[in-house]
Amino acid sequence: MERCDLAIIGGGPAGLAAAVAAREAGVQDILILERDRELGGILNQCIHSGFGLHTFQEELTGPEYAGRYAAKVRALSIPYLLDTMALELSPERVVTAMNRERGLFQMQAGAVILAMGCRERARGSLNIPGYRPAGIYSAGTAQRLVNMEGYLPGKEAVILGSGDIGLIMARRMTLEGAKVHVVAELLPYSGGLKRNIVQCLDDFGIPLKLSHTVIDIQGRERVEGVTLAQVDENRRPIPGTEERYKCDTLLLSCGLIPENELSRGAGVELNPVTSGPVVDESLETSVPGVFACGNVLHVHDLVDFVSQEAEAAGKSAAGFLAGKNTRGRRSIALRAKDGVRYTVPATVDPNRMGEETIVRFRVSDVYRNPTIAVSCNGEILLRKKRMIVSPGEMEEIRLKKAQLLARPDIQEITIALEAAK
């Protein structure tokens, strides 16, 4: 069987940044497996600007951001295989993959980094009876059609779901000459970034209707119109609030979900809240030597944080390969409580961690002026005041090694919101 020190599954921003960091940390024998025809992942279809402000201090488009990392990978001569799909991963880190030249092949990897990204959620939110006429697309599919195939899916659109991709597509379709009548959001707040609400909707006078959903689609062959209605606090349509919109296209932006079929096959423990692997401070999963980063771990809004996380995973994998970073005996559990939905990582080892560990999480609702409180055994380790937190924007706190080492008996750290709603 072929061998490599580090196999990276997925050549999106996460896989690329992980590869660069691992190489810079001394790993020579790396192989990136990418199923698409080019490196860069989903960023190739995200042609809008706003990427990279944190990383490069300038505002780049998705393809430019991806291009910078792809260029680094090439400059470091890190090998990658395109049009190559990883099909299976074993707990012993044997990767089974396939491409046209080599057919099916297997590779024993010293360490593996999972960087498969995420996919769009199924149409679950469109819970309505009747036909499924042509003209209904997921927002990501529409993004690919418009930006990569040069094909505009319709002339008059209604968008259901106000996540970032839905917002971005509202602007994109408008710029291409389509009329976007409205963006409807089931929840009382938008899951999208503020900047996208301002630049994609407000700039073009596209209304955002919160607490609204689609209750009917007209048309048999092709969408001819949709009916929206307001929903009550139980998300049930309120009679008498129906409004009809004439349109030929309905875009669904229902959120993203990590792509973990491979991980599951390898026996990697998954967190039901994130649908991503449970990882420790080194971003190592429950399977030793298998690391995860980027959208496969938990869905990110900002690619800059994907790159940061991926660098950490690359370094950890390098340490693991050098025999310097194997799992120790001590592990402190991080518990998400009171408005905090989950944390990545789920555990920290104070001996193995660097000087500090970034803990990322999402909250369950919109809170104004909350304080993020980190505590153990009733003692507050850290308090961080925020002006606003919302489920659409990832939060972070930093745990300090010195603080944890100074408390040898802690077994659990709680991260909670002290909300002043």
Binding site: S49, T61, K194, V198
Partner: protein
């Protein structure tokens, strides 16, 4: 006479809520910004709002049917749609290199349109084969 305008900073995805105080037609105070970009954004946004335009241009003879492009600098917000419409009538000839100017001085704004990606010469690959 003073007036307060509330904005959301779009300088970066933090999206800081800004309060801009206008006095005698000028900006006298900006609050809520985390960094100085927010201050600059607020002053500009209440006087002369601008945006980067990103879109695609059809490519002839390339491995991809389109190439992603952006304006090399920001264009006045009221001209966004006009610029987008002007771009719709363009075609680029493969090969296209990232950074290459695809269209000069779009709609008289003095800003060039540049490619953000390479497109090589060749037959387009079958789309969505995955």
């Amino acid at each position: 006479m003073s007036e307060i305008r509330n904005l959301i900073c779009i300088g970066c995805p933090m999206g800081c809520p800004l309060a801009v105080t206008l006095e005698d037609g000028g900006v006298s105070k900006v609050e809520g910004n985390t960094c100085k970009r927010g201050d600059a954004y607020a002053r500009r946004e209440v006087t002369n709002p601008t945006r980067i335009l990103t879109t695609t241009v059809p490519v002839r003879g390339g491995t991809s049917p389109t190439v992603a492009v952006k304006t090399a600098g920001e264009v006045p917000k009221p001209l966004l749609l006009k610029c987008a419409r002007a771009v719709k009538n363009l075609t680029a000839e493969a090969p296209v290199k990232a950074g290459q100017v695809v269209f000069k001085n779009i709609c008289g704004t003095g800003v060039d349109l540049i490619a953000v990606k390479d497109v090589e010469r060749g037959a387009p690959e079958a789309a969505s084969k995955r």
